[in-house]
Symmetry: C2
Subunit: 329 residues, 2 copies
């Protein structure tokens, strides 16, 4: 059954190479939302796109670029893994609203308004003060709505997230985070946010990153499924998905780049600490090519039916992308 479904992982940032693309294909993923950049500026983002053009050229038997929901169906038919791009920060557009349509044309389908810190558009989840969506932020949201670039508030703080949900004329996503009711962390989302998100047609992708989970790396598959079930009770099935936040085969320098970018002279440990600075230990049930299939099985055993599970593991992302990516022009 699993092999016939559209399976979508709503966020990964792994060490991209042929070996990993083979891993993705063997994992039976139809499509993956790939983090293209964390803090890269416009020029640097072009080099990331160039790098992916090479990946597509040299691995056409494994992966293909995705610019629409239809492309994901095509990827599934062809037995390839569809790749779609997002930025975890608004750095690719710098201070120029005109770069939103430019980056969208190149394939930046999703963009976070902020990554942990205050950005030009909104406030990140680790700031003490949350001043909400900025002047530029309001215009950027309208422009993203116009061209069909999806707003992602995974790393944003509460007020900014609620305002983005409200200001945006189209549903937004939290591609990778968990409810605070399951694990209370600054990166996770309150019931208020999750309810507001769903009310406006948005989507939340449950994260498999141990720092976002109850009991960290010891979180059980049952606990994970329980979190999803409780969320379904709160907002229904149609707004739930997976955004694993999988960062496979990356060394610590990548983690330091995510956390520190170019903004910090001191070492910022993000969700870790000085004594726990490295990548967290993998979950035993989400560490190899069977990861998504394990979740599929776990959700069935938890009491979800086949149709519900197929929505959570892919169909909800597919529908959300279909609506969110079509330009309003």
């Amino acid at each position: 059954m699993f092999a016939n479904e559209i399976i979508i992982d709503g966020l990964q940032y792994c060490k991209w190479d042929r070996e990993y693309f083979t891993f993705l294909k063997n994992s039976k993923l139809s499509a993956v939302h790939i983090t293209l950049v964390y803090h890269e500026n416009a020029r640097e983002t072009l080099s990331r796109f160039a790098q992916w053009d090479r990946f597509f050229e040299n691995n056409a038997d494994l992966i293909m670029p995705v610019m629409s929901a239809d492309d994901i169906i095509l990827a599934k038919e062809k037995g390839l893994v569809g790749i779609f791009f997002g930025a975890q920060n608004c750095s690719p557009i710098e201070d120029e609203i005109g770069l939103i349509p430019v980056m969208r044309k190149l394939g930046l389908l999703i963009m976070q308004l902020t990554y942990n810190n205050q950005s030009l558009l909104a406030t990140g989840c680790y700031e003490k003060e949350d001043s909400g969506i900025t002047r530029f932020g309001r215009q950027a949201i309208a422009e993203m709505n116009r061209v069909g670039m999806i707003i992602d508030m995974s790393h944003s703080s509460q007020r900014s997230t609620l305002e983005a949900i409200d200001i945006s004329s189209r549903p937004i996503c939290i591609s990778h985070a968990n409810p605070t009711f399951a694990h209370n962390a600054l990166r996770n989302k309150s019931d208020e946010v999750i309810k507001a998100l769903a009310k406006r047609g948005g989507l939340i992708g449950f994260s498999l990153y141990p720092f976002h989970l109850p009991n960290g790396s010891n979180c059980t598959l049952q606990d994970f499924c329980k979190m999803i079930a409780k969320s379904a009770d709160m907002i229904g099935i149609d707004h739930l998905a997976i955004g694993s936040d999988l960062c496979k085969n990356q060394d610590i320098s990548i983690l330091e780049w995510m956390r520190n970018g170019r903004w910090s002279k001191e070492m910022d440990y993000g969700e870790g600490s000085a004594s726990n600075a490295n990548w967290p230990k993998d979950l035993t049930w989400f560490c190899d090519e069977k990861g998504m299939e394990n979740i599929h099985e776990g959700l069935l055993q938890h009491g979800f039916n086949e149709k519900e599970v197929s929505k959570i593991l892919g169909k909800n992302w597919l529908n959300f992308l279909d609506k969110g990516l079509k330009p309003q022009i």
Copy 2:
């Protein structure tokens, strides 16, 4: 008759605004090859694309973007002027071959390998020594061939142009220059180049820029048509087109930017001189909305038949673009 034809101007760099887009529409042009940048680097080129996105958004009743020959036919049907982009230098790709597919995706359909000076790819027409296509140049040509970005050698020197014609697996263009037999200037092209170009299926667009013409601003329409007729005798009709090099409503600072970019501390006067530093005086028969229609009439009077004239004024560009823009991937 003129109003029903596909009319294409193979190069312009005017002061772009609503007034000028209206001028283009009234000139009954189906499409124009617009110079997007002269010396702008990758980041600056993004801002030019962003500027044009605004132009398209705000002038959708006059212009539309063109990514293929079919789009030109669509523009004609809709009564809009199709706009397609070229760079007069290879500055948008900087030193990175991966920026060729990136820029192509954004709509850079044509790129000169060099503008007057030595570039990273080839030698410009004002250099004393012409060392031909460089190591990077050979790879760039292959990549342009692969993604369907057209090579333009208008401002290149003889050896580099001959080598580009030879190395390229697809026909190339000289979008805007004239034969040296009509006017002997470094910017114009020898019989050898024009014959080699045509032999490989290339295209030359005759320039209306007075510095490229016999008798400069006093060149008559008859002289212009005579030059085309002599070229047709030499290489046939199918390789001839128009690339007016029209630079309307631009002040001298633009001319200085074209000529000097950021490379010269001394003032370089290009085809002009210290005592003749400004824009040349307009041709009386190519100065208003009737310009292309005047050429149409002039060619008919010179003895070309309707079919031949329609090729020269647009169909040859259309066919050339149709073949040149389709990716080989």
